[in-house]
Amino acid sequence: MSDTGPGRAPDVALVLVTHSATLARGCAEVAEQMAPDVRILAVGGNPDGGIGTDTEAVRAALVQVIAEGLGAVVLTDLGSAVMAAELAVELLAPEAAARVRVVDGPFVEGAVAAAVAAQIGAALDEVAEAARGLAAVARPPDGPANPTPDGPASSPPDGPAVHSAAVTLRNPLGLHARPAAVLARMVAGFDAEVRVNGVNAASMLELMKLGASGGRELTVTATGPAAEQAVGAVVAAISAGFGEA
């Protein structure tokens, strides 16, 4: 289980495999901005540096991150990159291959979501789920085991206390990728289950799917020991416009 406390490096690295070195590097830059502590390797282009993929370079990247004690989630851009990645995994020793997930998901969104999940301490399979763009990743693995009720103010009389607050989105672009990543990471730092308009605030993709633009009022709810502080921090960040407004 991951310890998500401060100073603990993420356990899962990302390997981005694309037909172009520039594309891989650029995607890595975007993801790194949201998840500064996550190891992200960009493997793009064919062995001559042209457009294509390089199985050996992918294998070398995987060997490297596994040697560092990390698991690896591999994201790919087009068809043959998936093949190169799968073949690279097949070339690894079984115990190393067991620590790799090749994911077929949206490349940029998947990479960013996976990076954020890794940053907040998600385990290998959870990071892979985030990369697939499916899921609500992102409770840290050692977070509270009990799911919270879906909507605000729906907790049973004897259930955990729900803290709630309304806040208006100030920055014009609203909950786009960067603020969503900021919120998801912030929320993961509290011992609380936090929701924004009913979705899991620890999931960057769920937050983005709200499509909340500037001027919209959001309802922040939380349960758990640090619920009150979590709501306060989220409201403060949203009120401050994430430094954009």
């Binding site: 050996e56 068809g79 093949m83 799968e86 073949l87 097949e90």
Partner: protein, 215 residues
């Protein structure tokens, strides 16, 4: 005059493949230009030149057929690039895993072809009839399997039967509509063109037979 399918045969197969790929490079380029991105001939030629260079540089001769095929696999996957590099890399790698012997008997010969097909299918997830390499490898395997059941055929002769089936399979891709790989972007317009991957696959199987002195 047929030879046994030993390490020397495997090396001859690989070298002959390189010669044939170079000789038919322009044909493969042209086929791929019609329904792909036009680099199949060039990429394969580069890859098999690299394979030959590595064979020439070996200090210790390989002791099993599988060692030769593994050298092809690792070289091709790092020099051919793209889908073809991954597909052929996987095919040779799969084949190398079932040929860790100095000489192939009949079942070993069929096993080599089956493993190559398995590799292509596993990596590309294509089935027969989708205008891919599978359309050459699959009939080759079936023909070799059937022939292995007939008395008196030697391993080398199984390769001839397989090569003929692979070539017929490649020709039979002409009217097919591609539903996998780059050519699938063309949809209906992919009909009337021969699949370059099926052609290069048939070339490889034919080279195996020729290297055994029978094709």
């Amino acid at each position: 005059m047929t030879v046994v399918l030993d390490v020397d045969w495997a090396i001859a197969w690989v070298r002959l493949t390189a010669v044939e790929v170079a000789a038919r490079r322009d044909e493969l380029v042209e086929l791929d230009r019609q329904i792909g991105d036009g680099d199949h001939g060039e990429n394969l030629d580069r890859g098999f030149r690299a394979v030959v260079a590595r064979l020439d540089a070996l200090e210790e001769p390989p002791t099993t057929v599988g060692e030769v095929l593994r050298l092809v696999a690792t070289t091709v996957m790092s020099t051919v690039g793209g889908a073809a590099g991954a597909l052929y890399g996987t095919a040779y790698l799969s084949a190398s895993r079932v040929t860790a012997v100095p000489v192939l008997d009949s079942s070993g010969t069929v096993g080599l072809l089956e493993a190559a097909l398995d590799g292509v299918v596993r990596r590309g997830k294509a089935r027969v009839g989708e205008k891919t390499m599978v359309d050459a490898w699959s009939p080759a395997v079936e023909a070799a399997r059937r022939a292995a059941g007939r008395a008196g055929l030697r391993p080398a002769e199984l390769l001839v039967v397989a090569a003929e089936a692979a070539e017929a399979g490649a020709v039979a891709t002409d009217p097919l509509m591609a539903t996998k790989g780059r050519a699938s972007y063309l949809g209906e317009r992919s009909r009337g063109h021969r699949d370059p991957g099926a052609v290069s696959s048939a070339l490889i199987v034919r080279a195996a037979a020729s290297a055994a002195g029978v094709g």
